[in-house]
Amino acid sequence: MQTQENTKASVLIVENLTVSFDGFKAVDNLSFDIQENELRVIIGPNGAGKTTVLDLICGKTAASSGSIKFRDTELTRMKEHEIVRKGVGRKFQTPSIYEDLTVFENLEISYPRGRGVFGALLFHRDQEVQDRIEEVAEIIFLEDLLETKADLLSHGQKQWLEIGMLLIQDPVLLMLDEPVAGMSVNERKKTAELLNKITEGRSVIVIEHDMQFVEDIAHRVTVLHQGKILSDGQMDEVKQDPKVIEVYLGHS
């Protein structure tokens, strides 16, 4: 039985997932699964439902029907913060960080401890937290900017900070929505490096438009179109798929 095998190796199983907004099906009977340690890239034209899929997984949008299983937990009925605590991390399309706080404080808030009201009140910034924040800051190239207020960072640095905020959460499944959007060539290169480093030992879903970047990082690519899977497989296979060329890559 193939499904039996999938349950063992899969971190995430999405089955018959549908969401409709006033009759418009943004995601239509979608099924796929993500293996342990897999890096999956989702591509597709605008309005294909890519971001909506991430919204559904992380609880931002409620599914109309279908199921999302993360390990053995059904996510469709859970609240956002509960899903996060299960080990699902999400980076948004536009950098969403806490602009009134410093880089250090941004990372500290993301540190997975003291997340209840009284836990936060009594949270103590001990050596362990301090060390972990410095370690993560180094990975995201911000070790010299720990005391800088986040809104003073450049666009690229904000993106890295948000990746760092996810990294410190230590999620099992990491979801990144256009991590290199708006970045310079140099920043893209550094980000690819960064992603390769942080994706070790976890499963990752990336939404991206930049095809060069996708080729650099992807294990497997899923092409979405009108809320359905159009094609799925290795990057080379997908690129040759006439349907994909038709709706997305365009004739060259």
């Binding site: 913060h81 999400r90 806490y98 602009e99 009134d100 808030i109 003291g114 936060a120 009140l121 959460q169």
Partner: protein, 381 residues
């Protein structure tokens, strides 16, 4: 991490403590000091608003509700004690002309006027001072919890929340006015005389209440500062700008909002109780919309991101109100509206913002780097 010692030893705390505990008591007569005491009771509310509105971004236009609940709890205790005297006439009382005739002796006078014959059940806890103190803290907090849970769990926020809290203020004042027999109606609860037999209307009592009010204010100031300096304070600031993102950092946003709203309500309740003690009455006009908005203005003028600013704002605006309304009573509301508009347009961070950006740097350059003058966490730049 900031300890209590670090907060208390900072110059701004020391200046405030010296001002409240030494300079004002020495410089003012008892009548004026009692006025300051009244202003300070508003500062409790303003502190709560800094936490709730400044840090957490939750604007409540109904803090008068919690101020009133605290104030009424205190007044009910004092009224019951005053009512114990209404048990009929002894010969001594007749001789000094203090004879009070009630058809039902021993209940508050307004109940008797409304032809009630026994004390309503919700007055029972207020026979005991200990229970009263508990009620002063618990009633506003529980009420805030119910309102907060109903709103925040459903993700009602922003301007809708402000409007609902304002409606609550209106509802509560109408409820009080409409129930003259149960709670004193439009007259409020007046003629409060003694606390455990000690006359609260004397100059000595006013002096004592001033110091209790000022001391308690400094105490809750430290508690509020500790809260805002903790990670909870930073979660609130994060929530103010990026509420959704905080959920994806693994926090239940609603719980944090409920907590800070309850904390602000508890502070307002304390302020209300101290108000009743200082002025020896409570009135439904302190519950309604106008005082609730006034309190927001105190906080805005002083600076909604600064606990200290809120205290000075409450003192200054209330003082201005007293001075101005002595001269032109009917113009005060217009003047206050003008102040609010001016502050919003010209100094959105209030007096504290002006101090931080213009005065503090100069003081620093005058005195060199005099210790650590920057606070560990800034609510806003």
């Amino acid at each position: 991490m900031s300890s209590i010692y670090q907060i208390v030893s900072r110059y701004n705390f020391l200046i405030l403590a010296v001002l409240l505990l030494i300079i004002l008591p020495l410089g003012l007569d008892v009548f004026r000091l009692n006025l300051v005491s009244k202003y300070l009771t508003y500062a409790f509310v303003a502190l709560g608003l800094v936490m709730c509105w400044g840090a957490g971004g939750i604007l409540s236009l109904g803090q008068g509700v919690f101020f009133g609940l605290g104030g009424y709890c205190m007044a009910m205790f004092l009224k019951l004690e005053a009512a114990k005297l209404n048990i009929g006439c002894t010969r001594e009382m007749q001789e000094i002309g203090q004879c009070i005739v009630q058809s039902t002796p021993g209940i508050p006078d307004f109940m008797d006027w409304a032809s009630m014959t026994e004390l309503p059940f919700f007055w029972q806890p207020f026979h005991s001072l200990a229970l009263t103190i508990i009620m002063i803290l618990v009633v506003p907090t529980v009420f805030a919890y119910i309102v907060g849970a109903a709103m925040f769990k459903r993700r009602v926020g922003g301007v809708y929340f402000a409007i609902i809290t304002q409606a609550l203020a209106s509802v509560l004042s109408i409820l009080i006015i409409g129930n003259a027999g149960y709670i004193g109606g439009f007259n409020g609860i007046t003629d409060l005389r003694t606390l455990h037999g000690w006359d609260i209307r004397t100059d000595d009592a006013k002096m004592v209440f001033y110091f209790i009010t000022a001391g308690l204010l400094l105490f809750v100031l430290v508690a509020a500062q500790l809260t805002l300096n903790s990670k909870l304070g930073r979660v609130l600031v994060a929530m103010r700008g990026q509420e959704d993102r905080v959920r994806f950092s693994g926090y239940d946003v609603a719980n944090f909002k409920i907590f800070v709203f309850c904390a602000a309500a508890a502070l307002a309740g304390m302020g209300g109780a101290m108000f009743t003690l200082n002025v020896a009455f409570i009135h439904p006009t302190f519950v309604g919309i106008v005082p609730s908005i006034e309190m927001v203005i105190f906080c805005a003028v002083g600076g909604r991101f600064s606990l200290y600013g809120a205290i000075y704002g409450a003192l200054l605006v209330s003082w201005a109100k007293t001075v101005f309304s002595e001269a032109y009573p009917e113009l005060w509301l217009f003047a206050m509206g003008a102040i609010f508009i001016f502050v919003v347009l010209a100094m959105p961070k209030g007096l504290a913002g002006v101090f931080e950006s213009h005065i503090e740097p100069r003081l620093k350059s005058m005195f060199g780097t005099r210790g650590k003058t920057s606070s560990p966490v800034k609510l806003a730049e």
